[in-house]
């Protein structure tokens, strides 16, 4: 169980506030996602929880061990995977894994069952140097190394950044299986679409949690009316929509535009408005909000 209370952290002698009072807790065997844009404070939070960074104030307890006072104990029970690939590029896959196993006084064989699923996929390349692996394989190796000492808590800092969509999906499937083995997982990501793979998520912005709930709970709390708009000349249309008084927010979402509209606005009305501005072939449909829509709405409040 992770218990965090009122964490504050600032850099540059207090000029830059990375964390502004973070409080949350994660239950045993839960997958907890911290979701937010770059620079929101995710890495600072995770580095504090991994005992690599000292907080200015506040308490963080990992399975009963304080990250400041009992940092030695904390390091025994956590597996930390930094955002950047941080294994020895000049050592082979197998050498990296053996290295971290030995440092924790264990061996690959002893905990092979934990990493079997993941490691099997890179085992054919075990003599290859880590630096020569593809992005997806590097992530698998890093996860294997973080798991090799059988941690109780996994801290994964943006594990899927820079990884292709197929590998990303595989990665989340692997996390699902680790959860089944009772490992508590704290994971951060900038990809909002990964939120639904978590048991609970927290949306972080400028060092603060702006919402924290199950993914469904976050979506359910969305109160507005959301439409998607499709058509030609999307970027011009985005500007046009922003000029409309009944459109509260509008932002590009893949190849569509998501708009939050005021009560009482009819789709036909909006179509006419756009037609006047010479946007033809416009399709408008009401949609269910996603986590990203919720994040945008909360950010605009």
């Amino acid at each position: 169980m992770i218990e965090v209370k009122d964490l504050y952290k600032s850099y540059a002698k207090g000029k830059v506030n990375a964390l502004n009072g973070i409080t949350f807790s994660v239950e045993d065997g839960e997958v907890f996602g911290v979701i937010g844009p770059d620079g929101a404070g995710k890495s600072s939070l995770f580095r504090i929880l991994a005992s690599l960074l000292l907080p200015d104030s506040g308490v963080a307890v990992m399975n009963g061990h304080d990250v400041v006072k009992d940092y030695r104990k904390v390091r025994q029970i956590i597996g930390y995977m930094p955002g950047r690939f941080s294994l020895y590029q000049d050592l082979s896959v197998e050498e990296n894994l053996t290295f971290f196993a030995t440092l924790f006084n264990t061996s690959i064989e002893e905990n092979y069952h934990l990493i079997k699923d993941i490691y099997q996929q890179i085992e054919p390349f075990k003599k290859r140097r880590a630096g020569a692996l593809s992005g997806g394989m590097k992530q698998k190796l890093a996860l294997s190394c973080a798991l090799i000492h059988k941690p109780e808590i996994l801290i994964l800092d943006e594990p899927t950044t820079g990884v292709d969509p197929v590998s990303r999906k595989e990665f989340w499937d692997m996390l699902g299986r680790l959860k089944e083995q009772g490992i508590t997982i704290l994971v951060s990501t900038a990809y909002m679409d990964e939120a639904s793979r978590c048991d609970r998520i927290a949306l972080i912005r400028e060092g603060e949690f702006i919402a924290s709930d199950t993914p469904q709970g976050i979506i359910d709390s969305y109160s507005g009316i959301l439409w998607s708009v499709e058509g030609d000349r999307m970027s011009a249309m985005l500007t046009a929509l922003r000029d409309h008084s009944a459109v509260k927010t509008s932002f590009a979402f893949g190849d569509k535009i998501h708009i939050a509209v005021a009560d009482g606005l009819q789709a036909g009305e909006l179509k006419q408005y756009l037609a006047k501005k010479e946007f033809s072939d416009v399709r408008i449909a009401p949609i269910k909000p996603t986590v990203e829509d919720c994040f945008m709405a909360l950010t605009n409040e």
Binding site: R47, A50, S51, L52, L53, L54, Y71, R72, R75, Q76, I78, Y80, P82, R84, F85, S86, L87, Y88, Q89, D90, L91, E95, F99, F100, T102, L103, F104, N105, C145
Partner: protein, 378 residues
Amino acid sequence: MKTLKFLIEKEFKQMFRNPLIPRLIVLFPTMVLLVFPWAVSFEIKNIRIDVVDHSKSTYSKRLTDKVSASQYFILHDTPPDYNTAMLNMENDKTDMILEIPSSFDVDLVKSRDSEVGVAVNSVNGTQGLLGSNYIMQIVNDLSSELRGELTQTLPPQLRASMMHMPKIDIVPQYKFNPALDYKNFMIPGFMVLLLTILCGILPALNIVMEKENGTINQINVTPVSKMNFILAKLIPYWAVGLVVMIISITLSLLIYGLWPAGGVIAVLISAIVFILSVSGLGIIISNYSETMQQASFLVMFFILILVLLGGMFTPVSSMPAWAQWIAAINPFNYLTDTFRMLYLNGSTLADVSGNLLALGVIAVILNGWAVFSYKKRG
């Protein structure tokens, strides 16, 4: 211990897997011992000289011949007047001008006293100083020769009184380095430089590389103690340093016939004490730098201080007082001195114990600081 052994294994694995480091470890001492001692020398030879001979007499001819016969000078020209010679110097065709007055021979015979003028290009200070010294030696040499000869021409009674006049010749004996060979003087210094770079600089850069690659984060979340981590970084380079030291001692015996008169064991023991202190300095540098660029810059800075204020090129005793204070805490200075004592003076371990004690104290202070400033978290 098991962890330490494993960490050291990993360091060696990485060291030999690096395409550059193993080659450099061989190439570097070879280069330093084969090439530098010949190039870095304060011996000034082949000074180009113009002789302006106004006298054109037998004596002035003898002086000119003596100058051109010397291994230090190359007679460039004998221009008719000083201005032509000066023009040569301005155009960098000659380095020195020796001007012999027209009354040279008359003065010598009649008043037994004459003067010659010397002008020397002192843009290169060492060349200027040594060049004028060499010329002085040659002129003195000639004057004592002439003195002996001219005495013969005197009337007997005068000759007798002349014989009683004291005649002082200075005959220098170059102790400990009889041939006055600068290579013998520089090689011990170069050995110290090798040790500084291999045992002080390389491990420091290695640690900073772990920081820059982020691998230190992964190490820091393991139960590895900071002592083990640092020791595992240092021990491989200590081993390399000692191996290179043995190679250097052998090479300088084979190539230059230079063998430590004070004993090879004494050389190795002092090297070990030095290695301990200089690796402390390396760790401090690595603790205060986050990137390779910062570390490299600090390294350049310290290497210059260590070498230039360490008595390798210029004697510490001729430095201003504040520089001598820096030299007093400079480990480089102590080992250079120790190596020269062991190699050239034939001192024993007991003679250099003062230096070794100083090195030991510096080692304790630097390493204490290194451990203190090493943080496992930010």
